[in-house]
C-alpha cells in the first residue's frame, strides 16, 4: 500500500500524463523538454497496466500544456491520457491526437536527406495517423512508426 502511495502521490495543480508505453517514457520527456523544468516532476515507469503490459506515468506540478504541444507526444505514445488537476481534483481528461504537421522532434529516416547533413529543422506532413507515416517536406521520403527517432 505504501509503495502504491508513493507512485500515485497526489499533486495539487498540474498535469498527469498516464498510460505512456514504458518504452516511450523517455521520448516523451525529450519531446516535452521535461528535463528543462524547474517545477516538481514525478516519474514512474514499468508499472503494471492491463492495457499496455508495462506503462509509465508522469506527474507535473503547476504545468499545463497547450494542445498543440502535448499532441506531439502522440507520435510515440498514442495511448497517453491526460488528467488536468486543480486543487487535487481531476477537472478534465484528455487524449492525445497526432497533429497534421510535425516540425522538429523527429529525424528523417533518409541518411541522404538535407536535414541529416546540414543545419535544417525537419518538417513532415502526417500522411497516416493510425499507423504513423510521416512524409519529409524536403526529401519526400516516408518515415514510419518503426523508424521514428526523436531528436
Amino acid at each position: 500500500m505504501k509503495d502504491k502511495q508513493l507512485v500515485v502521490s497526489a499533486i495539487k495543480n498540474g498535469t498527469v500524463i498516464d498510460h505512456v508505453p514504458a518504452t516511450a517514457l523517455f521520448n516523451v520527456v525529450t519531446i516535452l523538454k521535461l528535463d528543462k523544468l524547474e517545477t516538481m516532476v514525478t516519474f514512474g515507469n514499468n508499472l503494471g497496466s492491463k492495457k499496455l503490459g508495462k506503462k509509465g506515468i508522469i506527474k507535473l506540478s503547476e504545468v499545463f500544456f497547450k494542445d498543440d504541444d502535448i499532441n506531439k507526444i502522440a507520435l510515440v505514445a498514442p495511448s497517453a491520457k491526460l488528467n488536468i488537476i486543480r486543487n487535487y481534483e481531476v477537472v478534465e481528461k484528455k487524449v492525445v491526437e497526432v497533429p497534421d504537421e510535425i516540425i522538429g522532434i523527429v529525424k528523417c529516416v533518409n541518411p541522404k536527406c538535407i536535414t541529416n547533413n546540414q543545419p535544417v529543422t525537419t518538417r513532415f506532413s502526417v500522411v497516416s495517423k493510425k499507423e504513423i507515416k510521416l512524409r519529409c517536406h524536403y526529401c519526400e521520403k516516408i518515415t514510419n512508426s518503426e523508424n521514428i527517432e526523436i531528436i
Binding site: K112, C113, I114, Q118, V120, Y138, C139, E140
Partner: protein
C-alpha cells in the same frame, strides 16, 4: 507560373505541364531569340552532370541570357563547409533564377525556400529531376501527337529509377495504361501502384517483355545498375534479360518510340540505334527547348 520554383514534378498542374509543352514547341521552331538578354541565370552544380548542365546552358545562351555558376563544388565555398543556406542567400543576390543540382535529397526544396529568386531543380540526389520529366512529356507528345490514353512500358530498374517515378506521376494525369517490366528485386514500389489504384488506372506487372510489347506506344528504358543488387549472382542472371534488341521490336506499332534518359550502358543494344523507332537522341535535344520553356515561363517572359 511566374516566380514559381520547380522542385518536384507535382509542383506543377496538368495545365501548367501543357503550357510548358506548348512553349517548348514554339522554341523548337525558333530556339535563337534574344529574350533573355539582361537576365542572369545561375547554374549551381554541386555534383557534376555535364549532360544536364550543357542542356541548361545551351537553352539560356540560345536566348541571349548570361550564365554564372560552377560545375562542381570542389572549387567553391561549399567545399570549405559553407552551408547550402548561405550559398543560396549569396547567389540570390547575383541572379534572376537559380538552376541547381545537388547530391543531397531535399536540397532543392530548401533552396527554393531560402532563395529570393525562383529555383529550378536539376536533380536532388535520387529524389526529383522535374525538367527531365517535362522533356520526356514533350518527347511523348511530339511523337504520339497526344498525351492521352497511351500505353507506356517502363523497363529495367523501376525501384530506384527516379525518372520513371516522376514520369508515372505526371502521366497518371493523362489516362495512361502502364506496363512494368523489371527483375523481381527492382519492381515498381507499392506507393506508386497505390497511386494508380486511387486514380483508377490500369497497370500490368511482368518480367516478360515479349508478351505485350505489340501494344506499346512508348517503351521507356532505364539502366539496371549492378550496385542496386544485394546479390551479385542475381545481377549477372538478369542483366541481359533487360537488354532491348532490334528483333524484339518486330511487330510493334509504327508510332511506337523507344525512350531512355541517357546515358545508357548496355540496356539498349546499338542495333536499335538505326531503327526509326529509336528516339533517345532526339529526346535529349528536346531538353533544350523544354528548359527554355520552363525558364522563360518562370521568369514571366512567356
Amino acid at each position: 507560373m511566374k516566380n514559381k520554383s520547380l522542385v518536384s514534378i507535382t509542383d506543377f498542374t496538368r495545365d501548367e505541364y501543357l503550357r510548358i509543352l506548348e512553349l517548348a514547341a514554339e522554341f523548337e521552331k525558333n530556339p535563337r531569340q534574344n529574350i533573355l538578354s539582361g537576365y542572369v541565370i545561375a547554374t549551381l552544380f554541386f555534383e557534376p552532370s555535364t549532360r544536364t548542365r550543357l542542356s541548361f546552358e545551351s537553352a539560356v545562351s540560345g536566348l541571349g541570357g548570361k550564365i554564372i555558376g560552377f560545375s562542381e563544388s570542389a572549387s567553391t565555398s561549399a567545399s570549405k563547409g559553407e552551408t547550402l543556406y548561405d550559398t543560396i542567400k549569396m547567389v540570390s543576390n547575383y541572379s534572376d533564377l537559380i538552376v541547381m543540382r545537388h547530391p543531397l535529397e531535399g536540397s532543392a526544396r530548401l533552396a527554393s525556400e531560402v532563395a529570393s529568386v525562383p529555383v529550378v531543380n536539376a536533380g536532388d540526389g535520387a529524389n526529383q529531376h522535374p525538367t527531365q520529366t517535362l522533356l520526356d512529356l514533350y518527347s511523348i507528345q511530339k511523337t504520339q501527337k497526344t498525351l492521352d490514353n497511351l500505353k507506356i512500358f517502363m523497363v529495367g530498374d523501376l525501384k530506384y529509377g527516379r525518372t520513371v517515378h516522376s514520369l508515372l506521376m505526371a502521366m497518371s494525369q493523362f489516362n495512361t495504361t502502364f506496363f512494368f517490366i523489371s527483375p523481381e528485386e527492382l519492381k515498381m514500389p507499392d506507393g506508386y501502384k497505390m497511386h494508380l489504384d486511387q486514380k483508377g488506372l490500369e497497370y500490368y506487372e511482368t518480367n516478360d517483355f515479349s508478351e505485350y510489347v505489340r501494344e506499346a506506344d512508348i517503351i521507356y528504358m532505364t539502366r539496371v545498375q549492378q550496385e542496386r543488387f544485394t546479390d551479385p549472382i542475381e545481377y549477372e542472371r538478369v542483366k541481359n534479360a533487360y537488354v532491348l534488341r532490334r528483333n524484339m521490336l518486330e511487330g510493334t506499332k509504327e508510332n511506337m518510340k523507344v525512350l531512355h534518359p541517357l546515358p545508357r550502358v548496355n540496356e539498349i543494344h546499338t542495333d536499335v540505334d538505326t531503327s526509326p523507332q529509336a528516339y533517345y537522341f532526339e529526346q535529349a535535344l528536346n531538353g533544350v527547348f523544354t528548359r527554355q520553356a520552363i525558364i522563360t515561363s518562370i521568369l514571366g517572359i512567356k
